[in-house]
Amino acid sequence: MSSEYKIEIRNLQVGFGKLMVIKNLNINIMSNCVTAVMGPSGCGKSTLIRTINRLNDLVPECHVKGQVLLDGRDIYDPSMDVVELRRRVGMVFQKPNPFPKSIYENIAFGPRIHGIAGGNSLDEIVERSLRAAALWDEVKDRLDAPALSLSGGQQQRLCIARALAVQPEVILLDEPCSALDPAATAKIESLMVSLKKDYTVIVVTHNMQQAARVSDFTAFLYLGELVEYGETRRVFENPSSKLTEDFITGRFG
């Protein structure tokens, strides 16, 4: 097995009840890159990334077949510790969802439940996470302020900081900018690019320009199948599938 792949997904099938959302999908995600997952609404993008941290487990009627390997280990293996998996694979949601607590407590939540690693103090973790999410300078004087008093873009960066605080390896972002204005979007986008230095980043988006701007690799999903996957520039300049071309040129989607 080649070790440069952080995540390998093999013959993945995901369904909710009788509805099959992902049909036999294979994809390998490169370590320390931004991979964009693109496609029209309802094509299974969110379902795909919620499979990677097993958040779909919360939906009772969801069933998963196939393998999802993280560093070569199947996360759907019964011996897998879901809590540890979710520490290693962080997630940021479409709508900013900070807890109704202070800014500080939002970041401290993860380290508190997992225990603090590496002799860092909680204050250090909070500062480091907020710096990594490019939010520190804006909030350092009011860490005790309620998180919900921040603007939407700040809240979303807070959610990224919250995910970073437990030192994950992979960060999943589910349309992180769809509720934000252009200025806030630009900040999150540049943040995504800077995060790939330390993390493997997977971002779901239905905004093609965003995929083109931030990602190294782009996957195009359509009706639960992987239509196209490759280096972002190649996918955009020279799509191998007519479907991808139509999507990119705005004929549908």
Binding site: V83, R86, K95, N97, F99, P100, F109, C159, R162, A163
Partner: protein, 298 residues
């Protein structure tokens, strides 16, 4: 083509508005009339009984040659019974609400919720019966109390009676915590208990407090069951195993045989005034709490 349905005309609309306004006014009027009536009948009591003796007097003895109208024993009775009920009921009810909304299998939820709501529909006299017969024996056997009917007995039956209120309002509050908070907690790797205790419950806390407040007002106002369960001896005591009499019970028992317009009659209304004041304060506190917490969380 079908004709487009015509909207009600402007006059119809304003008529409806007035109608609704009228309904609102009627309920406010009724409340005002009740308060005015209570004051009108209650205040004359203080022409004969000094206010300080009424509130701080330690003896309630209306049949004596020299009647004594001190409501302190009754106040004590109410506090003992209500406090006991709250202490027993609130933790259990909150855990029950957490279980129903967060843990229970959907099928179990479908069965448990209606059953709990059914508890609220049982007439309080039936609860009183139960307390008077079965529960009294049990409490006496387990505590070895001298009085068969005592404050604890009343507190226990009251605990069951307020549970449906506290459970269903807490459950609403817990259920209305946005799904996003739970997802966020799970996505960081919190387990079910951590999500419940550190995210969901704190977010629902203001609503749960309101549930507790409403439970308290319901407990203080409850009459029939405590009347049957507590033994009705107006003793000034803080012993939960002693017989007591609550403010509500004294009104219910003595109002039937009181001479209309007598000092005793007015004194009973004055007790009603005090009760109204207490529930008013509790509801006000609940409202204030809710308002304060709303400033922080949505």
């Amino acid at each position: 083509m079908r004709a487009i349905r015509r909207r009600p005309t402007r006059t119809v609309e304003s008529m409806i508005e007035y109608l609704i306004l009228g309904c609102a006014c009627i309920s406010i009027m009724i409340l005002l009339l009740i308060i005015i009536f209570l004051f009108k009948e209650g205040l004359p009591a203080f022409a004969h009984i000094p206010l300080s003796e009424f509130i701080f007097g330690t003896v309630w003895q209306v049949q004596a040659v020299e009647p004594r109208y001190g409501i302190l024993p009754l106040l004590c009775g109410s506090i003992l019974v209500t406090g006991g009920a709250i202490t027993v009921s609130v933790p259990l009810s909150i855990m029950c609400a957490l279980y129903i909304s967060e843990v229970a299998h959907p099928l179990a939820r479908e069965v448990i919720k209606p059953l709990i709501e059914l508890l609220a529909g049982i007439p309080s006299v039936v609860y009183g019966f139960l307390a008077l017969t079965a529960l009294a024996d049990l409490t006496q056997r387990f505590t070895g109390s001298i009085h068969r009917l005592n404050a604890l007995n009343g507190a226990l039956i009251l605990a069951v009676m307020i549970a449906p209120t506290v459970i269903s309002i807490s459950e609403d509050a817990i259920k209305s915590v946005p799904k996003e908070y739970r997802e966020a907690a799970y996505a960081i790797g919190a387990d079910k208990w951590e999500t419940m205790s550190r995210v969901v419950f704190p977010a629902a806390f203001p609503g749960v407090m309101v549930a507790v407040m409403l439970g308290i007002s319901r407990a203080i106002g409850e009459t029939m069951a405590v009347l049957m369960a507590t033994g009705n001896a107006p003793l000034l005591t803080f012993d939960i195993l002693s017989s007591v009499q609550t403010m509500t019970a004294v009104i219910a028992i003595e109002m039937g045989e009181v001479t209309f317009g007598s000092v005793h009659y007015h004194a009973l209304f004055a007790i009603g005034l005090i009760l109204l004041g207490i529930t008013f304060i509790i509801n006000f506190l609940a409202e204030a709490l809710l308002r304060r917490f709303r400033g922080v969380s949505p």
